[in-house]
Subunit: 419 residues, 2 copies
């Protein structure tokens, strides 16, 4: 097998463990050095390839590569960029393969979620159509947990652990204060179309009536009157009410309950501000004192409380991506197959990208309690293993030691990119 | 010394380590058993005394008492209750001492912040004036870090560690995304009148220009135009801008920038929340995409990332409170005296409550950078030791094991309370 180089990049919203996947790719590629030469990382995702902003990862020390395992964010920068179909616009792909050819790149590893899988598939199809030999492997990542075929998506387990721990802690706080002060606490979590992260809050419960007493999912139509009645009943029963709400909660007409004028490049509406909206609604009706929190980036970057299970899976899909590529598999993604839940056992298989890209896995109805405000035993059995185990970063002077790579650029060999 | 009982209660907003102070009180009182009989805990602070809702802590196991060290929230419930002066209204104090006499209570331990210190002092004065022999000791606690005389307030160090770690993680996230997506991230933290928690975010910086590039303190008058210019300059310099804002940021006329009136100075309608207000302001002027988070209760209940230093101090002030009381000191509070910063060395002394109650310690000018948007080297030297050391709770099945006490009520011996 002749020695060829590889391209690796991270795309879309980042997670607490996406760099652990990078670590899996880089460590495996290094140990497979007879087959793979240099892994070039793209600065800011596929943009780094288009702009020929390539990072020579061979210049990073073993120690720094290993430290990626405990460093959140994206070591090389990420991007949100919608690629066209090559039939409609081959230009970006011609440019991509011009750059790849200049650097002898034969492997394309793209680490991301739904939109990134779409990109990887498009690159694979364009490579075939335009006759550039390229092995294309997607690497799963998303706190939204909405990729199909895989048991879970690396990044989700850690965010889920953050949400369930945080809501357990905040519930103890609220319960302490409710007699003379705050009655209602609302935490808004990520999840535009799928309620997986909100569901994870249910893991804080020992029994079905424990807090959080109300969880709002995008999969359940929000009915204001029924919700307000439920809040009152919970406060009257328990003295306090903890609510976890997915940012993507929708009304009966299919609109997001809260909305903003901003629209992202994929046409999604950018959300934010559901928690204060609900707090206001409750206060106006019932007069309860309330507090609310919006976790936003904190939940997806909280490497300080990563799930050890999630971390292991993130590393493993990176490793498997390289192995599958070396075995000649293309247009695929390593996915996680659950063998059993207690104790959790899983293996990795290759799944075709055309069955993953542009499919969105929502919470199945059997995971949502009949009243729509909680999770079922089946959901608990599914979710529980994903937050298992602690994997703390090292600390120095009370601060986590997160690595910053040297990120040395490879000299450009192609003309500047003009998009 | 005759054996007498004690009353202990927790008051005001709770913290990640207030139960560690309870643990210090209870463990020390148990080992001092020749002098102290039973420690009765008040259900929901001093309300528990007024309503004669007393918890018999002697019925809790050694193991559960020890587990208070790693359990956030308030083990016995807290309250916000303003007590009158006994000269104006002796009735609540007559009731208090009626309950205390019925249960042979000679020691009063009250664990809280500014308002709770005021309560402890009032109880001490009323006891003297009404002739009920009672030793009254306050125990410091507040994430706001605004009590005078003490080097720091238990609860603050852990919240500070949460804020500095979270903003470090969110900064890595934002930096990853800024090329094609979000440019500005805003985290709103607690601190209505003092910017200590916002200042703690500065510990995430290695150099003065690191993120968070802008910190907004209540101590610095907010100037919208200067702020918006600073944001633009930072984004142009770094590509992204991380902002940490104290909830209590004020305008030149002494008003909170955002308030329950729901209208901001620019005429936007707000559902509450400084972070979305600032985000909106920035978006309208500069068009930057933004994300924002409000930590709220999460920051003060995050026992999962307590500071080991803070935890040790919280336990130590509980222990010292009992020792000072046994030595006959009253109307005092154990405070922390810094002996040196590197390595951090401290001891505990008794300070008179009348010099603590109703004084609020703000950030001194020498801790705030000249431009008002960051902390100085002096602030860093002060803050750094307070977040040192990690003190993780035990976990089971991926969840922290927080104890719930039995909280067995003592049978009432007085007539019902009528306030």
């Amino acid at each position: 097998m002749s020695k060829r180089n590889a391209f690796y990049a991270q795309s879309g919203g980042v997670t607490a463990v996406i760099n652990a996947s990078a670590c899996g790719v880089l460590q495996t590629a290094r140990s497979a050095s007879p087959a793979i030469g240099t892994v070039f990382a793209g600065r800011n995702g596929i943009l780094g390839a288009l702009r020929e902003e390539l990072i020579d990862t061979s210049l990073e020390s073993e120690q720094d590569i290993a430290a990626l395992r405990h460093t959140p964010g994206s070591a090389f920068g990420s991007c949100r960029l919608k690629m066209p179909d090559h039939e409609q616009d081959p230009a970006p792909y011609q440019r991509l393969f011009e750059v790849f050819a200049a650097h002898d790149i034969a492997y394309f590893f793209y680490n991301g979620g739904n939109d990134s899988s779409d990109t990887t598939l498009k690159v694979a199809r364009a490579a075939e159509a335009l006759g550039y030999p390229l092995t294309c492997v997607g690497i799963p990542k998303t706190v939204d947990n909405d990729l199909p075929l895989t048991d879970t998506c690396p990044g989700f387990g850690s965010a889920a652990k953050y949400v369930s721990t945080s809501i357990l802690e905040a519930s103890l706080d609220l319960q302490s204060m409710c007699e003379t002060s705050t009655r209602v606490f609302i935490l808004e979590v990520m999840g535009r179309h799928a309620g997986w992260l909100a569901a994870a809050a249910g893991l804080a419960q020992d029994t079905e009536t424990d807090s959080p007493q109300i969880i709002l999912f995008p999969e359940v139509i929000f009915e204001p009157e029924r919700f307000l009645t439920q809040v009152r009943e919970v406060v009257e029963r328990d003295g306090f009410c903890v609510i976890v709400a997915s940012e993507g909660v929708q009304t009966g007409d299919g609109q997001f309950l809260t909305d903003s004028a901003l629209t992202d490049v994929f046409g999604h509406t950018q959300l934010g501000g559901l928690a204060p909206l609900l707090a206001n609604m409750i206060h106006e009706r019932h007069g309860y004192r309330h507090h609310w929190a919006v976790a936003d980036y904190l939940q997806r970057s909280a490497r300080h409380m990563a799930s050890a299970t999630d971390l292991e899976q993130a590393w493993a899909v990176g490793k498997a991506a390289v192995e599958f590529a070396l075995a000649g598999q293309t247009a695929i993604m390593p996915v996680i197959i659950r063998e059993q839940s207690v104790p959790y056992r899983w293996r990795i298989e290759a799944a075709p990208l055309d069955q993953i890209a542009n499919f969105e896995r929502k919470m199945p109805p059997e995971y949502i309690r009949e009243d729509g405000y909680g999770i079922t035993r089946a959901a608990r059995a599914y979710l529980a293993p994903l937050i298992e185990g602690e994997a703390y970063p090292p600390y120095e002077n009370g601060r986590p030691c997160y690595v910053r790579l040297k990120n040395t650029r490879v000299p450009a060999q192609c003309p500047p990119y003009t998009a």
